[in-house]
């Protein structure tokens, strides 16, 4: 990497803004996954009776089964949100910063 383009990138306010926005998104989504998953794990550890109660009087299906499948589906959705934002919103800004830096 040439020193010149690196210093140009650093002096570009759009670069700092981008890093901040993208890292905020990445860490927010990370925290979402951690909260969802460790919410599930802590219920397993400390309040299993919530997970093991049936979803209705006539059903044998425990609530935890829906919660578990829900965590899997939510993980996929959050993954999709990040990819969509990074590829469609942030990548064009990066390309622009790179064009400016290597002009």
């Amino acid at each position: 990497m040439s020193k010149l383009s690196a210093s140009r990138i650093l002096s570009n306010p759009a670069y700092r803004r981008l890093i901040k926005q993208r890292d905020t998104l990445a860490w927010t989504l990370t925290i979402c996954v951690l909260v969802l998953y460790f919410g599930f794990v802590l219920m397993v550890a400390f309040a299993p009776q919530i997970l093991t109660q049936p979803i209705s009087d006539t059903s044998v299906i425990p609530l935890g089964m829906l919660v578990g499948v829900g965590v899997i589906l939510a993980s996929i959705v959050l993954t999709g949100i990040y990819v969509n934002q990074a590829n469609n919103r942030f990548d064009p800004i990066i390309e622009e910063i790179m064009r400016d830096a290597t002009k």
Binding site: I9, V33, Y37, A45, T79
Partner: protein, 565 residues
Amino acid sequence: MKTTSKSILALVASAALLAAGTAVADGAPAPAPAEPPLNLHAIVMFVIFVAITLGITYWAAKRTKTAADFYAAGRGITGLQNGMAIAGDYMSAASFLGIAALVYMNGFYGLIYSVGWLVGWPIILFLIAERLRNLGKFTYADVASFRLQQGPVRTMAAIGSLIVVIWYLIGQAVGAGQLLHTLVPQISYQISIVIVGGLIIIYVTFGGMKATTWVQIIKAGLLLGGATLMALGVMSHEGFSFEKLFADAVAAHPKHIQIMQSVVPIGAKANPIESISLGLTLMFGTAGLPHILMRFFTVTDAKAARKSVLYGTCFIGYFYILTFIIGFGAIVLVANNPEYVADLSKSVLALKGGGSMPAVYLSHAIGGDFFLGFIAAVAFATILAVVSGLTLAGASALSHDIYASVIKKGKSTEAEEVWVSKLCVVGLGIIAILLGIAFEKQNVAYIVALTFSIAACANFPILVLSVFWRGLTTRGAVAGGYVGIFGSIGLLIIGPTVWTKVMGMGPAIFPYDFPTFFVLPAVLIVAYVVSVTDKSASGQAERDAFEAQEIRSETGLGAEMAATH
């Protein structure tokens, strides 16, 4: 499938064992008929799969010229292809046969594993995937050591990688030997392992990452297709009603409604610390497996790296939901069935051939000998694909990190490095064969905990700290990394699985199977304290180099380009 004398897949059984904390009934050779029938369906399908993959290897070999071709498939893999390959690399026989077996024995509890093994993927995407692609060349140590001292950091990372790879290989080799020998009794356990080891050496030395990737893609397609058919078979038997499936399972299982109401293995005591430690291990371990991280160097750019995680997560999540249906289907269709159960008068659950057979027998219950042969071939393909990825990851740690960077200090040529790498592949293949044979009768129940703990406690935290924390210095990374590696190994040795069950030394000194709950915080604290107290000039230079690393990590400026040919 008349004779089954051994447990298939010790690794898989071990996942169940580990979790269940009870011995799975197996090992005792059942009296075998003199002339077992040849399992033609399985053999024909093995042979077709092997022929196709050898054809691909031939094709890939002609296109593998540079080091980037060999380690990273020329960086020309698309997002969708890599997503499939990720799924093929990650969905091991442990997750296919193992989760189905866990659900078969314990019901709802198996879902905790499915969830834990999936949630590492979003973390990989948000924090690691594109930064690996932007910063690294061939191994995750490239990234961890990007602005740190090459020698000590790469040595630590390579040790972590190799321990994970070799133990993972042992588990897979033992599993492959037992699977092939169980399904085709005419082939002995030793010959089975030699066949697997030989195939892997051919795939990887000649075809490199290109052949490995396509073996993984084909295997993922077969496994997803096979699991879908099995789940459809179960659901059609149950009139496409989940309520009926679960109600029938509760009726068929000897523990009845308990299979819906236990969040620990049935019969085990609730143990909050162990539950949390298991959760941490599964999630962060996934994000630190060297053969998984290596896949991100094969794609064209950061955009493709991201897309590949999305595709991979969809495939893996879908697959884990299927294994759950398959496990409950096995309770309904396999348990209580004298064709599959070893001795109905003793237990309606314990199967001929051991603890990991439920999914295999379910395929027979649904589709007869033909479908059983297909699923057996898929399970075999699964092991081959995972072992290929592991072998390549291990060889790259030895050749790229240890040989080229530590010993030759970056002065070796690419051709030399690839040549060393191929020697390492042959060496690792032979080691896998020998250890696979040596471990035939060993209790390998600790392998999942060992490999995932080291990945979660050493590889993952050091990687994340080096990318995100300016303050990390070489001393901090190395100290933290070794605490992760040796802390995990030490606590596992004095833990219940190894101390009590494998070595028979009486009550365990450390009462938990998964050490991550204690080791991971220790790693973070050590890496932090050692880094901030590092007043050396080199430490300061490493902090100053963070900004340049961050530009490349975030924008891909200067990242390794895709090959043009």
